[in-house]
């Protein structure tokens, strides 16, 4: 239990710093000084002490419980990932539930922006889940979905990134789509204000920001562990900073795609990744 609490705290604190760094990179690319890198953490803390108000249009028990579920699924991801090094299939399930929660968080507020984001969450689920489904290629290569087995495989055969480069690119696109101001971030595109988060205030917003930080840490951790094996703490830090830097650089220089373009682009990338990886595995 203590192990879980400590890992969740690390995921939240380090995830916040990574998102703050991501914001800083975006700002520097756009020739702004940008906020300090602890700004994301300070924002999250701030919301925990703000007054929580509830919109009249909210469908009440659901509106609150969906935020609790959002927190719960990312804490579950910490348990499956860094704590127990469990199955990637469970991680896929967590991600699928996350997309449903994103959808329902938008619809439960009753706000038109939330509802628009809710519809877009379904669109994005149809494109992001195929991206995550590429983990079956990892299964074909390694023979197991367990993260601990994947690490053991890499200790013997070397890093998976050299054996499955297309899978790494596809999973990187998935991470990119979850980063703030992503070209694929249609559920939180600025044309729908903050998407499904628009009508969540105070404590509820604090929990959403907590979940975002944990999810960013988990995605970075998952990518590094799947493709580079069990790294030292210093290499994990460097890797996570590199992922945040790259996504920040891409997000600062690309516009947010419209939903149709975003979905088609992601599905195309998933298709190329899956077919290309199969060809590389079985033909060459």
């Amino acid at each position: 239990m203590l192990d879980i609490i400590i890992n969740v705290l690390i995921a939240f604190l380090f995830g916040s710093i990574l998102l703050g760094f991501h914001r800083k990179v975006m700002a520097r690319v756009q020739l702004r000084p940008g906020p300090p890198i602890i700004q994301q953490f300070l924002h999250s803390l701030k919301f925990f002490f703000k007054e929580t108000t509830f919109p009249k249009t909210a469908s009440m028990p659901f509106y609150i419980s969906i935020v609790c579920i959002l927190c719960a699924i990312w804490i579950t991801a910490v348990i499956i990932g860094p704590v127990s090094k469990g199955s990637l299939l469970l991680m896929f399930a967590v991600y699928a539930v996350y997309k449903i929660v994103e959808h329902n968080a938008g619809s439960s507020s009753g706000s038109p922006y939330g509802k628009m984001s809710c519809v877009r969450a379904v669109f994005s689920a149809s494109s992001e889940l195929p991206l995550f489904a590429i983990i079956f290629i990892i299964y074909l290569q390694v023979g197991s979905m367990n993260i601990s087995d994947i690490i053991a495989y890499q200790n013997i055969h070397g890093s998976l990134i050299w054996q499955l480069p297309l899978v790494a690119i596809v999973l990187f696109i998935l991470i990119l789509s979850k980063s703030p101001y992503s070209p694929f971030g249609i559920t939180k595109g600025k044309d729908v204000i903050s998407g499904y988060e628009t009508e969540h205030f105070g404590l509820l917003r604090g929990y959403i920001m907590f979940s975002e930080s944990v999810s960013w840490y988990i995605f970075s951790w998952l990518f590094l562990t799947i493709f580079f094996g069990d790294l030292s703490i210093l290499l994990y830090i460097v890797g996570m900073l590199a992922i945040s830097f790259l996504t920040g650089l891409i997000n600062a220089t690309t516009p947010i795609l419209n939903p149709n373009h975003s979905v088609v682009s992601q599905i195309s990338i998933a298709l190329v990744g899956i077919v290309g990886s199969l060809l590389l595995m079985f033909i060459f």
Binding site: I6, N7, L9, L13, F14, I17, P33, P36, I37, I38
Partner: protein, 108 residues
């Protein structure tokens, strides 16, 4: 056990960043005008990076975990200052501490 140590490192860095932010806002009320390095901040940055990179330097006095924590606290203090302040000091501190580390271990 390792996770607790990482958590301590993270917390010291974050507390250092918050204190650095408060300190720099107190020191600089004016709009951002920056034309010289702050010597005190530069000394803190050099000390911080030395403590982090060469964490065994105080091993006869304190545990390396404590010296790394102090180093991270001070790095957070300098790096977390008001946007625009502390960045050159961080960079110069890093370069000087790497040079000192290099001289100590490869030349002496």
């Amino acid at each position: 056990m390792n996770e607790i140590i990482y958590l301590i490192y993270l917390l010291t860095f974050i507390i250092g960043s918050i204190l650095g932010l408060l300190f720099s806002y107190k020191q600089h009320n004016e709009p951002f005008i920056y034309n010289k390095s702050d010597i005190l901040v530069l000394i803190i940055a050099i000390l911080a990076w030395i403590l982090l990179i060469d964490s065994d330097i105080l091993s006869s006095i304190v545990n390396p975990i404590i010296s790394i924590s102090i180093g991270l606290f001070l790095i957070g203090f300098v790096l977390g200052m008001r946007p625009g302040y502390g960045r050159y000091e961080t960079l110069i501190g890093l370069i000087i501490s790497i040079a000192i580390y290099g001289v100590k271990y490869f030349l002496l």
